[in-house]
Symmetry: C2
Subunit: 187 residues, 2 copies
DNA sequence: ATTATTTCTAAACAATCGTTTAGTTTTGGG
DNA sequence: CCCAAAACTAAACGATTGTTTAGAAATAAT
């Protein structure tokens, strides 16, 4: 019927994701996105509506990308050890690529902690809730633990993961690894 | 010789500090600062040069304000327990005032982690270095610990403090307190 | 080949950013 | 009293933000 797009939408979303990941939502301008994605502003708006639409699509893409880490956590059966491996897996991308800073979801959670964008906020909460219930499930494998202990430890792990993502933005690999080891010494 | 200022500089800096604390540097606009400080843009520029000057003055004010927490940590002699109390003291302001989000220095550290503003960055590094050496000093009071263990634990505590400041932005008092207790279980 | 439809280029949009400037008001010293 | 110096008000600055629009280029179906 008409002309065909010269770009692949998932490809340009991935490039946008990396930019948001590195700089955060507000700091990333449409101008930067244009350059990084290699397409015109018009095309961005045609494909994703607006900046927020592109951002939400980037987060979706991010979640899909780290889904294999989650799957590994879900499918294994070694209790706390699985969580520890999950922590290591979560930061591994930070050491392979200098352009990556922490966890995109956690970064966004921090950036919008006092904002009131309901759509973005909901994305964050569901992510965190899923993580927490996974921790509870893993910890429950140790039948000697009381329900109260499990909830406390799950909370601890969630905050520790939150802190890990923050630390991964500025600290070295060695510091991060020492940190993870220490976290699991107390459990 | 001439007219006198109608405002007190330290008073307006304190108000600016709270705004930066809550929103971060970039998100806080001169317009918001005008309103919060109760003075005109012209007066802000006359007193502090520019936005960055006002921000640096806000950080100075922040450091002076939490200096008593540092002093308490320095002057006491109960080793690790002092550090634990320091952690509690560090987040206490978050529970008294809803307008406060985490630690201003840590927030700034995160916001500018990949920026290259040398002045602001140096402010952050000196703060973190001071904290680390204080941790080392406290941990060294336990003579049974090897130097390697001390350095590892100091690193852990620094990252934990970093994570705590991040968590204090979004988590509840109970979650924070559980987190602190868990941190010190492993030491 | 023509036509309808969609993509693209490029310019412009209003709003806001940090900053500056011109002009008025206040005030203390001669 | 008067004048000079500083502090105020308020408007404007150029640059950049996210978003929209007008028109040219391209393509599939008739």
């Amino acid at each position: 019927m008409a002309r065909k797009k010269k770009y692949n939408e998932t490809e340009v979303v991935e490039k946008a994701m990396h930019l948001f990941w590195k700089n955060g939502y507000e700091t990333t301008s449409m101008q930067m996105l244009e350059k990084e994605m290699g397409i015109n502003k018009f095309s961005i708006y045609a494909s994703f509506g607006n900046k927020q639409g592109l951002f939400l699509e980037s987060i979706k893409h991010y979640k899909a990308q780290i889904n294999n880490i989650f799957k590994k956590l879900e499918e294994s059966n070694n209790g706390i050890l699985d969580i520890k491996n999950f922590f290591y897996d979560s930061v591994s991308s930070n050491f392979n690529d200098d352009n990556i800073k922490g966890c995109l979801v956690t970064n966004t959670y921090n950036e919008f902690s006092d904002s009131d964008d309901p759509i973005i906020k909901e994305q964050m909460i569901t992510f965190m809730d899923k993580l927490k219930s996974l921790f509870v499930e893993k910890l429950s494998m140790d039948t000697s633990k009381s329900e109260e202990t499990i909830l406390k430890q799950a909370n601890f792990l969630l905050l520790a993961k939150h802190g890990l993502a923050a630390a991964a933005r500025v600290n070295s690999k060695e510091e991060i690894e020492d940190y993870i080891e220490m976290i699991f010494k107390s459990l």
